[in-house]
Amino acid sequence: MNVELEPVIGLEIHVQLKTRTKMFCSCALSFGEEPNTRTCPICLGLPGTLPVTNAQAVHFGLMMAMAFDCEIAPKSIFHRKNYFYPDLAKGYQISQYDIPLCSNGRLGDVRIHRIHLEEDAAKLVHEGASGRIHDSDSSVVDYNRGGTPLAEMVTEPDLRSAEQARDWLNLLRVTLRQLGVSDVNMEEGSLRCDANVSVRPRGSSELGTKTELKNMNSFRFVMQGINAEIARQTALVQAGEPVVQETLHFDPVTGRLSSLRSKEEAHDYRYFPEPDLVPVAPTEAMLERARTAIPELPAAREERYGRDFSLGGDTARLLAYEPQFGDYFEATTQEATAGVSPAVLANWVTELRTRIGASSDPAESKVTPDALAVLAALVTERRINASAGRQVLDTLVAEGGDVAAIVEREGLAAMDSDEELAGIVKAALEANADAAAKVRDGNAKAMGPIVGYVMRETKGRADGGEVGRLVREQLGI
């Protein structure tokens, strides 16, 4: 049997919300504090305690709902999901179940089935890892993370490859970051992704048996995990063997997937409506507050950069997905003189990004948008050449300052006299007669020593293009 198979992938994403406090108590969120120092009677599940919903978590949820064009439930409710595990202080997780906050949305070309609010579990640390090897069959629970607000998003199975999943996850990440609702860091666990994977004959509209992939805690692992699973399922199907529905655990060390099927009874979470909480029924004021809090999102910004600035795909996406650079780029367009194209400004912004790093905020660098715009203008007007421009940028990054003064101080101004340059070219041709002859015979590569001579003589101020033109002119070619 050798049918062409098509992978079908859906994602389940847990997003830690960037509130100040936990979902149902007022403990501050934890960022690596000493264990159990961000806990209170409520998140420790002490007898008699009750949850109270964090307004900001609901607000962030509504922002997500709107950003992803979801239908917001007029009245969503919380359920209890009952199971025993030491990382679950109450013996149940409070989570929205049959009426989620919102549903039927979309981001890019992927439909979003639902988004609901819930609380995160605590952290279980195996004691072996903390040095108590003699006692490694015990674990220690740290409840600092327990109760952190989560938005769980479930997509429809609209993805068809691991690469597409990665790219979409990236779009999701930058969108959530731009919304300001999460730190969206996979390595730190503030964005966690599980994948449902199945394969089917290309063209079929039925879904094959899916497996659930867990623990892929980086973009690379998401790709690896999904690809490994597609390969495994494809081999099974080609061999005429069935795919078994199961949960698979990704091992980042080996890059392999292993079955999590346990001897435990099938999960029976005994969901029922959380009697300690009342429904969330967004009022017009709550909706309005969420609506006005939504900034321009990366997909819209990418489109605008293409439309308004004629920026090419990659550059537009880069500046749109890293909004601090997008904002900075837009600031430079405000400062730039006529004749400097947005594309050139965008290139200089990406030059700056390379120097200060993608995670930095250029607005906090020593390079002002004004200085970068002046620099771009000098290069466009050929008053300095490109490499001198990069040298100026290095100086600006290191110490800031006035562009003109730096050009002056470092003697980087382009030769303003064509005659002077023509003279130096003439001298260069004379000093490199062999090379000049080869160039005349059509060997363009021989130009190197000639141009090198000119640059040495001019301390790099000469415009490379102009030098080439003069060489050809004087050689009569």
Binding site: L44, L46, P47, G48, T49, L50, V52, N82, K90, F272
Partner: protein, 483 residues
């Protein structure tokens, strides 16, 4: 005043004397502390051993001490909920309702014994032993707040808090001959009250009379930022003053006042209806068509919620642990097997089953619908009546052990009180006489008269109860004198 005279005062009387400078709060404290320390009803699981705390005579409760059901968390003081699994557990915080009482000027005298996690109607399900009824020590005080009821009846405390999920205040109040008040669901914060069935649990009061109930209730009620389901009351609780029941329409639901009620209890009930008529009330029979199914709905909803609420007792963060080295699952099952008593296990099993996959709709889901029907029954009854009245308990106090092997018979104790809990409406029990237990006993035992009103009708309810109480003139002193 002698100590006996002191403990004969109602709380309101004591407050009056303190305010008038005729009584030192410390005297009252010592008198009650001595009686509490000599408690031989097993009503208490903890008694304060400190000297009288400083008291402010101008505070609403003027330093009159209070006994608190052990289901309420009290910071640094054992809060064991009648369970072995919480033996010696001292919480790091105090329940809002109790903090409110402290803030109103009443110090904590003692913690009262109770059925384990409030599951029971006889107080025989306590890991700390049964509580005895001060009217007859061979009999139960009712439950689950049996310790609070017995303590107040026996004069071991001027008043006490309780919790009522399906009758746990009203039924023991009836069996001990005192006043028990369960207010509207949401009037008093549940924060710090160890949960049994969250959608039903409501704190309330045990007092000698209706005036004291109003006083203690006013101290306890109020919105709480720590309880999403707490509303407080729309207006302050006023001391009741009504002297008659003119214009008051009383409805007697046939479903809750006939079959299954002991003849002596029914006779007392009828006599009270006569008194109500004498006071000017109209009395008519009415129907709560779904009330008979209240017990069934209750015994699905409450166990389902408790099975989840009690999942936190897992031997990890607090409470007892049994670990014989067999791993996590063994630690869980061993701890819970050793920590919970039979009744708690039975209800956890029942609730887990009712919620488990495939049964939800038939059991829990259906019970919640019955609950809606019962609420609708009450709503339509209250369009014709100001209050509905029933016997509080189908019987008088029964002998220790009489029903412990028959869960169904035990559950029937809540027959008259459960429908009000399901509807979340306020209901109060006042002592309305005595009756002989069935089976030829000659001992006279108290009976209770339940008055239920629409949500948030607390002030009217207290007034009606006060008028009746005054006319009934029930003598509660035998229980105090026997102790």
């Amino acid at each position: 005043m002698t100590a006996t005279e002191l403990v004969g005062l109602t709380a309101a009387e004591a407050i009056g004397r303190i305010r008038a400078g005729e009584l030192e709060p410390a005297e009252l404290w010592s008198a009650y502390q001595q009686r509490a320390q000599a408690d031989d009803l097993n009503a208490y699981t903890w008694v304060a051993d400190a000297d009288a705390p400083a008291a402010d005579p101008a505070a609403p409760l003027a330093g009159v001490p209070v006994a608190v059901k052990d289901l309420f968390c009290t910071e640094g003081i054992p809060s064991q909920a009648g369970s072995r699994i919480l033996e010696n557990y001292c919480p790091p915080y105090t329940a809002t309702a109790i903090q409110n009482i402290y803030d109103a000027g009443a110090p904590l005298l003692a913690k009262t014994n109770q059925d384990e996690f409030a599951m029971g109607s006889s107080n025989e399900n306590s890991a700390y032993g049964p509580v005895l009824n001060p009217w007859d020590r061979a009999r139960v005080p009712g439950g689950s707040s049996g310790g609070s009821a017995a303590a107040v009846a026996a004069g071991l405390a001027p008043w006490a808090t309780g919790t009522d999920t399906g009758g746990s205040i009203r039924q023991p109040a009836a069996l001990c001959g005192i006043v028990g008040f369960k207010p509207t669901y949401g009037a008093i914060s549940r924060y710090g009250m160890i949960a049994f069935a969250s959608s039903l649990d409501q704190a309330g009061t045990f007092t000698r009379d209706v005036t004291d109930a109003a006083l203690l209730l006013e101290a306890m009620v109020g919105k709480d930022p720590y309880d999403s389901t707490c509303l407080g009351l729309p207006e302050p609780v006023q001391p009741p003053t009504a002297t008659d029941l003119r214009g008051v329409r009383l409805g007697v639901p046939e479903e809750l006042s006939g079959e299954g009620i002991e003849p002596g209890v029914l006779a007392a009930f009828e006599r009270t209806l006569d008194i109500a008529r004498d006071l000017g009330a109209t009395v008519e029979s009415t129907h709560l068509p779904h009330a008979a199914h209240g017990l069934s709905a209750y015994y699905l909803i409450a166990p389902a919620e408790c099975s989840s609420n009690l999942a936190r007792f897992d031997g990890v963060r607090y409470g007892m642990r049994v670990d014989d080295g067999g791993g996590l699952l063994d630690m869980y099952t061993g701890t819970r097997a050793a920590g919970f008593g039979d009744e708690v296990k039975r209800r956890i099993m029942l609730g887990t089953y009712a919620l488990s996959s495939g049964y939800y709709d038939a059991y829990y889901g259906r019970a919640q619908k019955v609950r809606t029907k019962i609420s609708e029954d009450f709503e339509s009854a209250f369009s014709a009546f100001d209050f509905l009245v029933t016997p509080t308990s189908p019987g008088v106090a029964f002998e220790l052990g009489a029903k412990s092997d028959d869960p169904l018979a035990m559950y029937f104790n809540d027959f008259c009180t459960v429908p009000m809990s399901l509807a979340g409406i306020p209901a109060l029990s006042i002592p309305n006489g005595t009756a002989q237990a069935p089976g030829g006993s000659s001992t006279e035992l108290p009976t209770g008269f339940q008055i239920a009103g629409p949500a948030f009708s607390e002030n009217k309810l207290l007034n009606a109860a006060y008028a009746l109480e005054t006319a009934l003139a029930f003598d509660s002193s035998p229980a105090r004198e026997a102790s």
